[in-house]
């Protein structure tokens, strides 16, 4: 099962013969010239990187298809700067066209399911795509069943999450711009694990930075369901008690029961209701829909377990998963940088599996995560992780990693440089 063989291929080639151009390739394959096929779902930090690296490293020996519903990549990292106003949405958007030169076939569409036996991926428009290996990089979706007040799109368009960069990012910025001076912006943070551990605190800083310049009588209220600041605590607290003193209030253990979008009110699990002029709720999160609706969420029904050597699902063979959807290894954050690193380990493994080569038995990944305190000063957290064969998981390398000593402008330059390089690493 670990290596691609001709019998499997002929079987899957038969299953796809409804697909026009692909069917021609499929028929030709019987003659022996066919390439193994990898289909990737999700053009974010994980999926786009996997597509590029499989195409680049296999030097055209593998047929790569990337399925993505959006027209343009919009980055979650740096999207808080759009909310703070120092960047525009165009600054964090990148075209997918850079992938064309690698011979990657791009399909615009929404993947809804797959048949692991027939090895086909189903799209919402009714078409199906054949694969030998499927890679899902589905990101997160919200557990809205826990917040009935956000059941309707109307409610979610008023009380925004803006936790997937794009139109909601712009809409939240507009709510802040439209808010009167003297108003309250409240951000409610779910219990960890959630996408981007420092992200909510960075957002609070960005909104405070905006208020400081434009609406100094206003206030940022952080309602954290966690017992304490989840990431970069000392560095964020320093900003809230220092340059943003009087602008930011942090409250811990602030779980919510529901949201009343009509009145912008949070129903707290304990204590009085909280009302805000701009209310930003990050609902609890789980692996993206395609993973949870197809039995891949075998960790607490929320996240996906994988083999860390190949990123193959432990629930379904020949299906690999990357990024925020994973049940993380200890001390491994759900970050875009991490998803990019997952993708390269997975790309190397998938190429090896499909070409009869050796899978790397000692993969490593590293994480670098920058957070902007204002428009120029930045802090980071970094870590290095290695595969531990005995525990069959990734562990942090002892003595590695750490935090910034203090917010600084040099790291502001490096953070912007990081963004340009990682976007190019995925998409150019």
């Amino acid at each position: 099962m670990t290596t691609f063989n001709r019998r499997d291929f002929v079987k899957s080639a038969g299953a796809i013969s409804l697909l026009g151009a692909s069917a021609i390739t499929g028929c030709a394959s019987v003659g022996g010239s066919a390439k193994p096929r990898v289909v990737i779902v999700g053009g974010g930090y994980g999926g786009a990187t996997a597509a590029k690296y499989i195409a680049m490293w296999s030097e055209g020996k593998i047929d790569v298809t990337l399925v993505e519903r959006g027209d343009t990549f919009v980055s979650c990292p740096l999207s808080n700067l759009v909310i703070g106003g120092s960047k525009q949405i165009g600054d964090i958007s990148v075209s997918y066209d850079g992938l064309n030169k690698y011979g990657i076939r791009r399909v615009k569409g929404e993947a809804v399911g797959f048949d692991a036996d027939k090895k086909t991926l189903a799209l919402a428009d009714g078409t199906s795509l054949p694969f030998d290996r499927l890679i899902l990089s589905p990101g997160i979706d919200f557990m809205l069943e826990s917040l009935p007040g956000l059941a309707t799109a109307e409610a979610r368009n008023k009380v925004l999450a803006a936790w997937k960069a794009g139109p909601e990012t712009v809409a939240l910025r507009k709510q802040l711009v439209d808010m009167k001076d003297g108003g309250v912006y409240a951000i409610q943070i779910p219990k960890a694990p959630y996408r981007c551990p420092p992200g909510p605190y960075e957002r609070a800083c960005q909104v405070a930075w905006y208020f400081q310049q434009a609406k100094p009588k206003s206030k940022v209220l952080i309602l954290d369901a966690n017992e304490d600041v989840v990431s970069k605590k000392g560095l964020f607290m320093k900003a809230w008690n220092g340059q943003f003193k009087g602008l930011v209030e942090y409250r811990n253990n602030q779980e919510i029961q529901d949201v009343d979008a009509r009145t912008n009110t949070l129903k707290m699990s304990f204590g009085d209701d909280v009302k805000a002029d701009v209310l930003n709720v990050l609902p609890p999160m789980r692996a993206g829909n395609i993973a949870t609706q197809n039995g891949l969420n075998n960790s607490n029904k929320r996240w996906c377990q994988i083999d860390w050597l190949t990123y193959e699902s432990t629930a379904v063979k020949n299906v690999h998963i990357l990024g925020d959807a994973l049940q993380i290894a200890p001390a491994m954050p759900k970050s875009g940088h991490m998803a990019n690193q997952h993708a390269k380990v997975c790309a190397a493994a998938v190429i090896a599996l499909l070409t009869g080569d050796v899978v790397n038995a000692a993969p490593m990944v590293a994480n670098t995560c920058y957070s902007f305190i204002d428009d120029k000063n930045v802090v980071h957290v970094a870590s290095v992780h290695r595969y531990d064969a005995a525990q069959k998981t990734m562990v942090t390398v002892a003595g590695s990693g750490g935090l910034s000593a203090d917010a600084n402008r040099t790291e502001g330059i490096f953070a912007n440089s990081w963004a340009r390089n990682i976007w190019a690493d995925m998409l150019a």
Binding site: V358, A361, P363, M364, T368, H385, F414
Partner: protein, 107 residues
């Protein structure tokens, strides 16, 4: 030149050491180990070490220079914002492989 020979020897011994470890665990070694390790640097230093921004490119740099820089980061002799923390995550053998890989990339 002398430094170059030293790094070449280090790469050879790194591969031998890694192969020996792997064989003892009866696991064959991927011939792409250096490429896979170096790919971790691309997020900040660009694909195959070709940076498109302020962080320096690593492609085509002298392997011995890269090895020494990483050693200085590890030992705390070289100040940094982040590289001193990341460098400590890699063994001397791994650093030798990464440096050798980047030195062979066209500038």
């Amino acid at each position: 030149m002398k430094a170059h020979i030293r790094v070449t020897a280090l790469v050879a011994s790194a591969l031998t050491a890694i192969a020996a470890n792997a064989q003892s665990a009866q696991t064959p070694v991927s011939k792409h180990l250096a490429r896979n390790l170096a790919a971790q640097c691309a997020n900040c230093h660009g694909t195959n070490g070709h940076s498109v921004a302020e962080v320096p490119s690593l492609a085509g740099q002298n392997a011995a220079v890269l090895v020494n820089k990483m050693k200085d980061y590890k030992d705390g002799k070289q100040q940094a914002t982040i590289m001193h923390q990341l460098a400590k995550g890699y063994s001397d053998e791994q650093i030798a492989l990464i440096a050798d890989y980047f030195s062979k990339q066209p500038k």
